[in-house]
Structures are given as C-alpha cells and as structure tokens.
Symmetry: C2
DNA sequence: ATTTCTTTGGCAAACGTTTACTGGAAATTT
DNA sequence: AAATTTCCAGTAAACGTTTGCCAAAGAAAT
C-alpha cells in the first residue's frame, strides 16, 4: 500500500507556500481559507481565528496571479502620463500610488514622452496586464490609441483634459478660478500690460489655461497685446526661449503669466540673466505650485492645483466607473492663487515708488536678504 | 446528439478573446498557438504563419496572469527608491522602465519616503505580485525589511549602496573618480579652503561620497577645516539650511562641494539671497548632474552619474542573477566632472583679479547676459 | 420526534496559459 | 522494402486561487 508518494520528492526547486498548506495547518478546507482571507462573512468566527493564526504562523500570502486569473480582477490601474521628468508628475504619481496601494491596488506607469509609438506600447502593456482602469494625463492628440482602450471597455478617467467626446469620465479642473485670481491680483497691483506664455496649444489643458487667461483679462476690461501671447511647451527650456523672444522687442509687458511652473521658472532664469529684476521690473506668475517653485528666486507666485487631490479624485472616479459605468458626474478640481514674491507693482508705478517693500504686501516670506 | 451546447449561451458578460479562439480560427491546437507565440522553434513555418495571421485578425493578446501563473515567471521587477520627488529618481525610473519594457518586463515602483513602515508595505506588495527581482536605491538602514526579500530568494541589486554583507549584487559606483576630478578642478583654480555638505550620513552612499571627498582632499595635500564639513539631507531645504549655518560664521570656505545637486542648488539659492556671488566669491560643485542643474543660475558645475547607465546595468544584473545566482561580479558605474559656471578662481586670488571672465576658462556656456 | 429552515464548510469546476508526454507521419538508414 | 530515427502537433496535466453548489449539522417550528 505505501510506496506511492515517492515521485513528488525532488520535483521542482522550492515550492512557494500554498493556500493548501494553510488549510492543512488550520485543519480546514482551502475554501474556508480563501473565504477567511476575503472576509466572506459566513465563516465561523472561531474558524476564521484559527485560519488567521495559521496564516501568521506560516507567513503566508496569496498569489496575486492566481487570484486575478480566477476572479477576473487584476487590481491594477494604469497611469498614463506624458513626461515623468516634469516635477509635476512625480508628485502626482506619488499621490496616486498612495491611494491605490492603500486600497489594495497596484499601479502601472506609462510615460509616453509625447511619443505616439510609446503611447501605443503603454496601452498595449496595460491591456496585457488586464488593468481595471486607466488614468490619463497626457495631451489631446492621441485619441486613436486611447480608443483601443475604450473599445475594450477599460474604464478611463481624464485627469486634466476632457476629450471632445469623453470616452470615460473626466476630472474637471477649474482653471478659471485660480487664473482669474492671478489676473485680479495683478490688476489690483496696477498691471494692465500682461503677457502669457502658454503650453503646447495642441494640448487641451494648455488651451483651457490660455482661454481662462483671456477671459479673466476680459473681465478686468483689457485686451492683451497679441505680441505678448507666446507659445511655450511646458518645459524650462520652453519658458526660457519664449522670454528670450520677448526680450528682443522693445516694449515689454509689466507682468507675465505662465501656463505652468516650469515655464515660469525658465522665464525667471532668463530675466535674471538679462538683468531684469523680478518683481521690481516685471512680475511673473506660474501655474501648478510645484514644490520647487517655493525655492526659486524670487519664490514664485503661482496658481495651485493639488496633485494629491487630482490623484485621489482620479482613483475614486476609476473605482466608481467599475461599479456604475454610466455615472459620469464630473468631479471638480479647484485651483487657487498662492502669492509669493515674484509679483509686485508695475515698474514706474506710483505705488511701486512709494512703498519701500514692493511685493511684500502679503506676508508669507521666507527670507528677505 | 445535438442540443448539448445550449447552456453556454448567456453565461457571463463579455468573454475576453482566448487562446482557444485563435486555435480554432487557425485550425490548430492551442499548444501550437502557445508555441508560436513563444517562438518555440519546432513549429512549422507555415503553421506559424497561419497562427500569426489569426492572431492579427482577431487582435488577440495573451493574458499575462495566466501566463505567469503557470510559467512561474511574473516578468515583473520591483524598483525601490527613497523619494520620488528628488529629480534624480524620475530620470532613473524612466531609464529603468525603458529597458524593462523593451525586454518584456513591467516594473513596480515603491517609493518609501524614508519611512520604514512604507518600505515594509512596498516589499510586501512586491512579494505578493511575485516579482522576479528588486532593484534597490534607498538608504542603508532598512536591512531587516530587505532580508525578507532575501529569505524568499528574490534576486536583488543595490544600485548605489552596497550593504555590509551583500544579499544580492551591487552596482559599484566609482564615486572617487568624479569627486576627485571635482576636487582637482578646484585645486587647479587655486582653492584650498573647500567645504563639503554631505547627505544624510546614515545613508551609505552619502558616506561614500564624503569619504571620496576627504580622500581627494588628502591627495592634494590639504586637510579640510572641520567646521566646513556639514551634514545635509539631499534635499533643497537641507542644502539651504546647511549654507545658512555656514554663513553665520566669519570664515567662509572659497568653495563648497555638495553631495548631490539638490543640495547644491539649495546652496546656490541661499548664497544668492545673501548677496554672495557665485562663482566670484564662492564656488559650488554638485553631484548627479540632474537635468535641472544646467538651468540654475549660474549653471552648476557637477559630477555626472548617468541614470540611464545605472538603470541599464541594474536591469542586466537582475537578469543575470536569474540565470546564475552566484555570479556576483560587480558592475562599475563611472562618474565624471561636468564643468559649467558655478566654479571659478577663489576670491581675491591673483588669477581671479586678472582674468576678466573668471570661470569661463571652459567654454560650454549657454548665455552670457 | 419529526419536519423545515438556517447556517456553514467542503467538493470540484473554473480561469487562460505552458509544457511534459505521446503518437503518427515523414525522413533516413539498413 | 523494412526498420529505425527524427520531427512536429496535439492531448492533458498542471499553476494557485475563487466560488457555485450541495450536504451535514444544528436550531427552530410543528
């Protein structure tokens, strides 16, 4: 009767701990173990206790692949971003990772570097891994690639730029509020000659920011000088070359608003090199409130858009789509102005000449040399 | 005989495309499809052709979970980093992602934020997902957590800091070369009073950088003034407060070397606020060659350590460990000095007074106001 | 004491692949 | 032409879970 269990001796190398091992150790069936782990309420308290003890004792943890294979749920979300080197994104990723992990999800990051081919690869990767949803924060041109996702019924949420006909949900960023605050802040200081350096205009979010700027200017009753409306690309370099172009002309605006912080920081750099004092001779406002912007010189006045909030809302949206695919109530992300020291009275203004510490009319300083 | 296949009609919602569907479409067995996909050489060319056609026609792609479950290979690597907001890391991540993806791997990012609890969670996540290896670039204290990985035989590679008794492979960074070049560059300009702002010293890599600095100083025959040896924390803020502390004293060094670029940029910021001209009155050198460092004012002289190279080597190491776990030949990452404009002759030196354009003895400028 | 209902745990069938084995046909040797 | 070998495709057994269904056991109702 014996001599039957020999063959399984030196089978494979090290076998990983099984749900069966736990079951045996706790003297229950594997079904009970599974149910215990998944918190199914029908298992007896005592048994559950025993199972947990065994799990701890053996230091067991379930195999995710097997789990998702059978349950059909990968517990994976994709995060599609355009460029990981823009400081805005790491902070976003961090936020997203945080919520995801604390909800038992894992994230797959795809950074497309503005390249359609890479984008395609990213989408493909995500499909293969069976993501349960994708959060998109890229520019607006890559629709065909995203359609692939839509056609496979992968829930999506656009974190920034709602496409013309949304294929998924969209977080609506209230660009207008923050930008208007910025414009009115400038107006209150006496500025009327304000320039704007946009992001790449094919990008929907850039377009929206610019529109918000124009509208806000309109509200204060001034039509911006066309030659002060430049297109950047949301990078440091872009901001730099835009301002370089601006400096070639004779007439300068007294303030520049930028579509994102990196652009503004680039602007600051060039202005400082050119010997143009900020904020004394020209004021600068950014957008995003990247961590770095507090540490440039002078600390950047900027419009804050919370990465944490975006990340959290995106996650929740994605989860909500899973449950009720039709529910498309957009969530709104608010923005608000953070006044630091890159803005002050326009050059030559009476106020500017009187006040000794121009630009310090709001406190929040760091150091004042 | 018929009337047997009715029940499978309205079973579940949408069934994803199967390997069986492909098999049926190509009129072969599923085994053949699998073999075709995996490039097993024994399948007939014609048949393979037919299979590929079907795959294309149906737009099929395999289910990764099922694949890894049976093959035991998750094709997942973990990447453990300390802080995603330090610009060094996104560039590293990008590099790692690139090699990984192009080799059919996916990466799981864990950013620990210097927190042991989070680290633990990260490790756990990676174990659950069955990673085939983990690349570690964090500081040196979290051994106990990493032991968990080691005890489960997960291959590891340390990308920066080799632990006392390596549990895996380690990339050896040749800190000495670049830092020596930096020190000698300063020495050649005439500096002897050089300060150093280190990273957090419990972090192995910080320690090594500092050691390299001290050794290099020794080589040029000067013993650094202890009061100019400060500890930072590899953040902008850390660099700032270190320099603030330095400025409180009367005697200043003529040059400061920093353990990383963010520290150096912080230093630059404080110096500029305090009205200390860089490089005229004090020279500054960073470490890492972060993208940003080219765009600060003045552009930062720094020691370059290639993220791409580290990422690639780490990936290759990880892969190599899989094949031959014993082979521990360390790979060496080189570093080299990049001279920009934050270094020049020491203040008050004869050379400095003569030369009109101090610091411009190497060309590579960007703009010169 | 019997019946009915409720709880609870086990059995076994999926999930979509890979891969060891197997057997039939084709190719080679005798 | 028979015997042997080689080649390749198909069959079926894993992989580690979840979960529908069912039966045993206890509780409640008759």
């Amino acid at each position: 009767m014996p001599a039957k269990k020999a063959p399984q001796s030196a089978k494979k190398r090290k076998r990983r701990l099984d749900i069966r091992d736990v079951a045996k150790h706790a003297r229950v069936s594997i079904a009970t173990v599974s149910r215990t782990i998944n918190g199914v309420p029908t298992v007896d308290k005592q048994l559950a206790e025993r199972v947990w003890k065994s799990i701890d004792a053996l230091n067991y943890f379930p195999n995710t692949q097997a789990r998702s294979l059978v349950s059909g749920r990968s517990r994976l979300f994709g995060l599609l971003i355009s460029e990981i080197t823009n400081p805005f994104f790491p902070e976003l990723i961090q936020g997203f990772e945080e919520v995801a992990v604390s909800n038992g999800y894992e994230i797959l990051i795809g950074s497309t570097s503005y390249d359609l081919g890479r984008m395609d690869v990213c989408v493909r990767r995500m499909l293969e891994r069976n993501v349960e949803g994708v959060a998109v924060m890229t520019f607006g041109i890559e629709q065909p690639v995203l359609d692939e996702l839509a056609s496979r019924d992968v829930p999506m949420v656009y974190m920034d730029t709602a496409p013309p006909q949304p294929l998924g949900r969209a977080l609506m960023v209230d660009y207008h509020k923050g930008i208007r605050e910025g414009v009115q802040h400038l107006a209150a200081l006496g500025h009327r000659d304000v320039g704007f350096i946009s992001g790449p205009l094919r990008q929907r979010s850039s377009e929206l920011r610019k529109a918000a700027f124009l509208k806000s200017m309109d509200e204060i009753g001034v039509t911006p000088n066309k030659t002060w409306l430049l297109e950047g690309d949301h990078t440091l370099e872009g901001g730099m070359s835009a301002v370089e172009k601006l400096l070639e002309r004779q007439d300068l605006p007294t303030a520049i608003m930028c579509s994102n912080d990196m652009t503004a920081i680039g602007a600051l750099r060039v202005l400082s090199r050119a010997g143009v004092k900020v904020p004394d001779e020209i004021s600068v406002i950014g957008f995003d409130d990247v961590h770095l912007s507090e540490f440039v010189y002078p600390p950047l006045t900027t419009v804050q858009m919370s990465r944490k909030e975006i990340a959290r809302e995106a996650f929740e949206s994605l989860r909500a789509v899973r449950e009720t695919p039709d529910n498309r109530v957009p969530r709104i992300i608010s923005t608000r102005l953070i006044v630091r020291q890159s803005t002050s009275y326009p050059r030559g203004s009476v106020l500017g000449k009187n006040g000794k510490a121009a630009g310090q009319h709001r406190v929040r300083d760091t150091v004042s040399v």
